[in-house]
């Protein structure tokens, strides 16, 4: 479901960033990702310079493309001159042959212009899309290896917007923005020179209208970009609200709160409309200036040129050429503002990209990895393990900085199933995360067969220790692929065997395409029990020595619970297992039970031992029958059932 949300919401980008302050220092709040803000910025040029490792790959095409574009633009600029010459020369002199020559020249210039533009685009399309793909893959590669605590802090929408939008902006920067900042600047200078040669006054006119046009468009562009980001955020929020209203339609109906949410939705939609209207207003004002200023320039030129023609200091052809050149220069001038704001966007995008790339991979392979003694026996030992979520990182949603685990000592004998029981929020899940090193303890150590987990290669460790989570994550892929997640090299037989162990083979065979059926968000949806059994199959397919199961029975109804329970019984034979349990039925699968209270293991024993000796345990797991007197429910004959 979450996949849906994040993908749907037009990935939020910066909303409150002030890109109009190129050197601003964005406030940085404890390293948390700020929704809708740009990364803290030092300087746009420095941000762009960070792209240089990737720019290297496109340097040659970039130079070629810039040269081609320049030639094309110059050819385009020469066309009005040739036309002017044609009018002044052959047309006025009635020289037909000369006219044809001039027409031929214009044709040549025109074909060169369009041909070079075509070539320029084709030269760039390959290399720039390749750089974009490379950067995206590198980002993804890095993201996958960042610690879970990073992902707890960063919503996937934020990462998505970096991987998609920001990289697209960067590609545009390489393919277009950087090229045309150079080309347009040269074009403007050349055009200015030509106008100057026709008449210095014309050049002056162009300068007088050109500078304000560029400045105004830049200013409007920057504001427009800010509004665009805001609008994307608002669209994302709106999408989220609608999504929730659809996914939670049963809740809304059963509580009759549809209207309540509708008001909320309307308010959000109105806000979005307001932003869009501001954008439209900006767009309108940009057009206003873009249309008015150059036209006033043309008017001034006609007035001055007409006077010149009348007084004989200028030819009609030069006047027409000057007017056409000014028309030709409109785009370079108008676009300068836009190009600079695009460059600024690209700098922001680069910052946002590197902000993620620079995040450290905290859990890395040791420099000198220890070898795990083979065969792995599966003795998992927690020694005075402590854990707290750091203030800057970690799941700061939970107790900020408070110690969740305060010296856990626990040893799992090879082959035994140990249930972990504790009140909600006591750190059970945290403890399970340490076993496969999804996080490292902040104190003490965890060992497998006597070796500190931190001394092992991650790949070795995670082959030996497999974790199944409370919420079985299925990917949009075939059943086979989902099971093979646990062992990429597993053969068909091994996959089938794992499914059989997990009591999943029957329902998988009944799926429309069997093992090939796509499941997950984009495929067939499975029931909770089916998902859990697939997750179990995935956990056992690689034949790990240690299995960590975070209550695989929690979100199931009783029928499915029975099915999964049966599957579990078979899964748990022959491996060391740490099993988080909430209910007696799950605990019954275990050989021993560890009671986690206040961040420590306070008791270890069998279910019945703990029931007898630990009041805390009784409160958590005693069924009515276990309690003294059976005051809630039936005694053996059922005659003690209280009737109301």
């Amino acid at each position: 479901m979450d996949t849906d949300t994040e993908a749907t919401s037009p990935a939020p980008t910066s909303a409150t960033a002030r890109p109009d302050l190129p050197d601003d220092h964005q406030p940085d709040r404890a390293g948390r990702p700020r929704r809708g803000e740009a990364a803290p910025r030092r300087s746009a040029t420095r941000a762009l310079a960070r792209l240089s490792p990737y720019a290297g790959a496109v340097r040659t095409p970039l130079l070629v493309s810039t040269s081609l574009a320049l030639l094309a633009v110059l050819a385009g600029l020469a066309m009005p001159l040739a036309i002017g010459a044609a009018i002044d020369g052959p047309v006025t002199e009635r020289d037909l042959a000369g006219l044809m020559w001039m027409a031929g020249l214009v044709l040549l210039l025109g074909l060169v212009e369009s041909g070079l533009h075509l070539a320029r685009r084709r030269v760039m399309s390959g290399p720039t899309t390749a750089v974009e793909a490379r950067m995206r893959q590198d980002l993804f590669h890095h993201l996958q290896r960042l610690p879970v605590s990073f992902h707890d802090r960063w919503p996937s929408g934020q990462l998505l917007s970096r991987a998609v939008n920001d990289l697209s902006t960067i590609r545009r920067f390489f393919a277009f923005t950087s090229v045309f900042i150079v080309v347009n600047a040269i074009t403007i200078l050349v055009g200015l020179a030509i106008l100057f040669s026709i008449s210095p006054v014309f050049a002056l006119v162009m300068v007088v209208i050109g500078i304000p046009t560029a400045l105004i468009t830049l200013r409007i562009e920057l504001r427009y970009n800010a509004e665009s980001r805001l609008s994307q955020d608002q669209q994302g929020d709106l999408a989220t609200t609608f999504e929730e209203s659809v996914l939670g339609v049963r809740v809304l109906k059963s509580l009759g709160r549809g209207r309540h949410l509708a008001r909320h939705f309307t308010a959000q939609a109105r806000e979005l409309r307001g932003t869009e209207l501001r954008k439209i207003h900006l767009l309108g004002s940009a057009w206003l200036w873009i249309m008015v200023l150059p036209e006033l320039g043309v008017a001034a030129m006609i007035a001055y040129g007409g006077y010149g023609v009348a007084t004989g200091t200028m030819t009609v052809g030069s006047l027409v050429a000057a007017i056409t050149i000014l028309a030709y220069l409109r785009f370079p001038i108008d676009s300068m503002g836009w190009l600079f704001s695009e460059a600024n966007e690209a700098a922001t995008a680069s910052d946002r990209y590197w902000e993620v790339r620079d995040s450290p991979r905290e859990l890395a392979d040791p420099a000198e990895p220890a070898e795990l003694p083979r065969p792995v026996r599966g003795e998992l030992r927690f020694e005075d393990v402590r854990f707290h979520y750091s203030a800057a990182g970690g799941a700061d949603e939970r107790a900020g900085g408070a110690e969740v685990l305060r010296g856990v000592d626990l040893t799992l004998v090879p082959g035994e199933t140990m249930a972990l029981v504790g009140a909600t929020g006591c750190g059970k899940t945290t403890l399970t995360a340490l076993a496969s090193r999804l996080a490292d303890p902040t104190g003490g150590r965890v060992t497998l067969d006597g070796v500190d987990l931190r001394d092992l290669r991650l790949a070795d460790l995670r082959t030996a220790v497999t974790t199944a989570f409370e919420d079985p994550v299925l990917f949009s892929a075939s059943v086979r692929e989902n099971v093979r997640l646990g062992a990429p090299d597993a053969t068909e037989e091994e996959v089938v065997a794992a499914l059989r162990v997990a009591h999943a083979l029957d329902f998988v065979s009944a799926l429309p395409w069997g093992l090939d059926t796509r499941i997950g968000e984009q495929g067939l949806s499975l029931s909770g029990g089916q998902r859990q059994r697939l997750a179990l199959a995935r956990a056992v397919v690689g034949r790990p020595a240690v299995l960590v199961l975070d209550d695989p029975l929690s979100a199931l109804d009783v029928h499915t619970e029975a099915e999964v329970e049966a599957a579990l019984r078979r899964v748990l034979t022959g491996v060391t297992a740490l099993l988080v349990a909430h209910r007696p039925s799950t605990v019954r699968l275990a050989d021993r039970v560890a009671l986690l209270e206040d961040g420590r293991v306070t008791a270890v024993g069998t279910h019945h031992e703990l029931l007898a000796s630990e009041p805390g345990y009784r409160a958590l797991l005693a069924t009515p029958d276990d309690e003294d007197g059976g005051d809630e429910v039936a005694g053996p004959a059922g005659n003690e059932v209280p009737s109301r």
Binding site: D2, T3, D4, T8, A69, I83, E93, L96, L107, L109, G110, L111, S114, H117, R121, F140, Q144, V148, S156, A163, T169, F176, F180, I220, L252, L255, G256, T266, L282, G284, S285, W287, I290, E295, L296, V298, A299, I302, G306, A310, V320, A327, W338, R398, T424, T463, T467, E470, L485, P488, E521, G523, A555, L556, S585, A622, D626, E632, A637, V641
Partner: protein, 648 residues
């Protein structure tokens, strides 16, 4: 001609809007704007993805320029109240075009009339032409501004209304409709389809209109100025139309590929990030890198193709434009030389030529987003046209302080006309205040009964009444205030925990919220969170355990304090202390209220006043639990035995 921007940008945040500066000339290919991953069904060559039912809804691409009748009607409904504004916008754009087209004409006048007069020593006509030119430019710009803002406002108003309509309609549609339609498709209506419409508006439906108008205007003007030369110029339209046609067909398939391949990138990224624990725990990184490499490569190829197609198109139109320019120059120049044409007219032609070609690049692009938007509108109108099967009565019966007396009278229910009945004729009376447990195997009809009571469905025959009133005759408000249902899937909305509880009764005070949480035993875990009741629920409560989410859902229902409470497997995720707390709450907070409990755990069932055992849609046992157990035989007795044995 100006350089069109190479912004073939697969921009997930809508690169759609033409930026203020006319870079939109080159225009972006329709961005795969945060495309729903649902569209990614291209997995032919990559078998790891597995097989799924193709998204049959994906428009076959045969979208014509004509709107379907349903869409036309919807559009008519939306625009009718805004007739005045539409007319004004039309007027503005006609005036704007007129003043815009006046420009070159005035230049021609300046050259042909003003200059000779100036040469004769009379500069006034030239001055007038210059002033006229400036005036026309200013008028054109101001009119353009007015048109952009007015038409933009119109578009946004229509979009706002459409969004609201869709939201309200979606809320009114029955649960069975939602089940069949699936949430993914419904969400697409509001997100990607609305984006298609928005993109069309932003990319310039107005611009398209203006462009067409200006092309027609220019053609007419040129014909008037000099018909033969104009015809020569307009002849170039034929190859242009051919090129545009080629481009449309090529670009459509190219953009479809960029969209679907980007959807794959997005899906893969999001799934990986959301499931990063599993990815790392199962050493999936390498394989994921490969898959991402493929997806990025696919997108790269598709995007390169789209860019190349665009490059050819832009190159071709520009070549044609330049060719046309040369022809006009050669022929026109010849005619001027022969005295058949005024020099000013030739100049005007050369200037108009540019304006004529300017919108062309854009036209092909906008047509593309137009067809996309038309398909989107069709899908949206389809949802809006969906009749409300479980509709509110037009003249509801008032329900004042409901007691909670529920009756099923000859109720029959089947999920489809030709499907066998799930409930064949059921008669049942639940007196106010009774706590009833429904027991039976999966498929026995327990949940159906609960859903009929909550009016998620209407019975196919017979009626369900509350305090004597048919549920179908009650207003939604009254019904929902009286009957609440808590299910196993406890959905949390974004917002704080307090917000989520308060959903039960929006006006509730903080104290009441806390009291409800206390009653169900949720208080202690809530206050242990760093921000207590103000803790934000992220990703639908992903950070809370299933049990915690369910407790919040309970607190919500308790706060609502309905006369009838329906619990469908609502305690299954709770651990024992929590379940005990909920049961205690049922006995205290809900004392005197009617409660229907569906549960597999007998511990839950045993607090009931009455147990109904269902089988095949029929009631097979009915009585107080103690009595049924004590009977020494029967299903409930057997269930109870089995349960006790399981407790070892």
């Amino acid at each position: 001609m100006n350089d069109p921007a190479d912004t073939a940008a697969p921009d997930a945040r809508r690169a759609a809007a033409p930026p203020p500066v006319p870079r939109a000339e080159g225009a972006d290919p329709p961005a795969p704007a945060a495309t729903r991953p649902g569209a990614g069904t291209s997995g032919r060559d990559d078998d790891w993805r597995g097989v799924a039912v193709e998204d049959v809804e994906d428009p076959a691409g045969q979208a014509s320029l004509r709107l379907e009748r349903r869409s036309r009607r919807l559009l008519g409904e939306l625009l009718r109240p805004r007739r005045g504004a539409v007319a004004l916008a039309l007027l503005l754009t006609v005036l704007q075009n007129a003043s815009y087209l006046a420009g070159p004409l005035l230049v021609a006048g300046a050259i042909d009339v003003g200059l000779p007069a100036a040469l004769d020593g009379r500069p006034e006509p030239l001055l007038w032409f210059v002033l006229g030119y400036a005036g026309a430019a200013i008028a054109s710009a101001v009119l353009q501004f007015a048109f952009i803002t007015l038409s933009g406002r119109l578009g946004q108003d229509v979009l706002l209304e459409l969004r609201q309509r869709l939201f309200r309609h979606a809320q009114r549609l029955s649960v069975s409709f939602h089940d069949g339609y699936t949430s993914g498709r419904m969400i697409s209506r509001m997100t990607s389809d609305m984006e298609s419409l928005d993109r069309l508006l932003a990319e310039g439906l107005d611009g398209l209109f203006t462009s067409l108008l200006s092309m027609i205007g220019i053609a007419a003007l040129l014909l008037w100025m000099d018909a033969p030369l104009a015809l020569i110029m307009l002849a170039a339209l034929v190859p242009l139309v051919l090129v545009a046609g080629w481009f449309r067909s090529r670009s459509r398939s190219a953009y479809r590929r960029t969209r679907s391949s980007m959807a794959n990138v997005i899906t893969h990224l999001v799934e990986t990030m959301n499931g990063v624990r599993a990815v790392q725990a199962y050493r999936r990184e390498q394989r994921n890198d490969e898959i991402m490499g493929e997806a990025c490569g696919e997108f790269r190829r598709a995007n390169k193709r789209a860019l190349d197609v665009l490059a050819v198109f832009v190159g071709a139109t520009r070549s044609l434009g330049n060719l046309n320019l040369v022809v006009v120059l050669a022929v026109g120049g010849w005619w001027v030389a022969e005295g058949r044409l005024d020099l000013g007219v030739l100049t005007a032609f050369l200037l108009y030529l540019r304006r004529f070609y300017e919108p062309l690049d854009r036209l092909a692009m906008v047509l593309d987003s137009y067809t996309g938007a038309a398909a989107a509108l069709e899908k949206i109108s389809g949802v809006l046209a969906e009749p409300l099967r479980v509709a509110e009565p037009s003249d509801p019966v008032r329900l004042v302080s409901p007691r909670g007396d529920v009756r099923f009278e000859g109720v029959e229910f089947r999920y489809g006309e030709d499907r066998p009945p799930v409930l064949p004729r059921l008669d049942l009376t639940l007196p106010a205040g009774q706590t009833v447990a429904l027991v039976g195997a999966t498929g026995a009809g327990k949940s159906t009964l609960a859903k009929l009571l909550a009016r998620f469905y209407d019975p196919t025959a017979g009626r369900v009444t509350l305090d004597g009133a048919d549920l179908r005759d009650l207003s939604d408000e009254d019904l929902r205030a009286a009957v609440s249902m808590v299910t196993q899937e406890s959905f949390l909305f974004s917002g704080s925990i307090a917000d989520n509880i308060r959903l039960g009764r929006p006006g509730a005070t903080d104290e009441e919220v806390v009291a409800a949480a206390r009653a169900v035993g949720a208080h202690s875990f809530v206050v242990s969170l760093p921000e207590g009741y103000r803790t934000e629920v992220h990703k639908r409560g992903g950070r809370l355990s299933a049990g915690q989410r369910q407790l919040i859902a309970f607190a919500r229902a308790f706060l609502a304090a309905p006369a009838v409470l329906v619990l469908d497997e609502a305690t299954s995720s709770l651990d024992l202390p929590a379940e005990r707390a909920v049961q205690a709450a049922l006995e205290t907070v809900l004392r005197g209220r009617t409660a229907v409990i569906i549960a597999h755990r007998l511990s839950t069932v045993l607090i009931a006043d009455r147990v109904l055992v269902m089988d095949g849609g029929r009631l097979v046992e009915d009585g107080p639990p103690a009595e049924l157990i004590g009977s020494g035989h029967g299903r409930f007795h057997a269930l109870h035995e089995a349960w006790r044995d399981s407790l070892v």
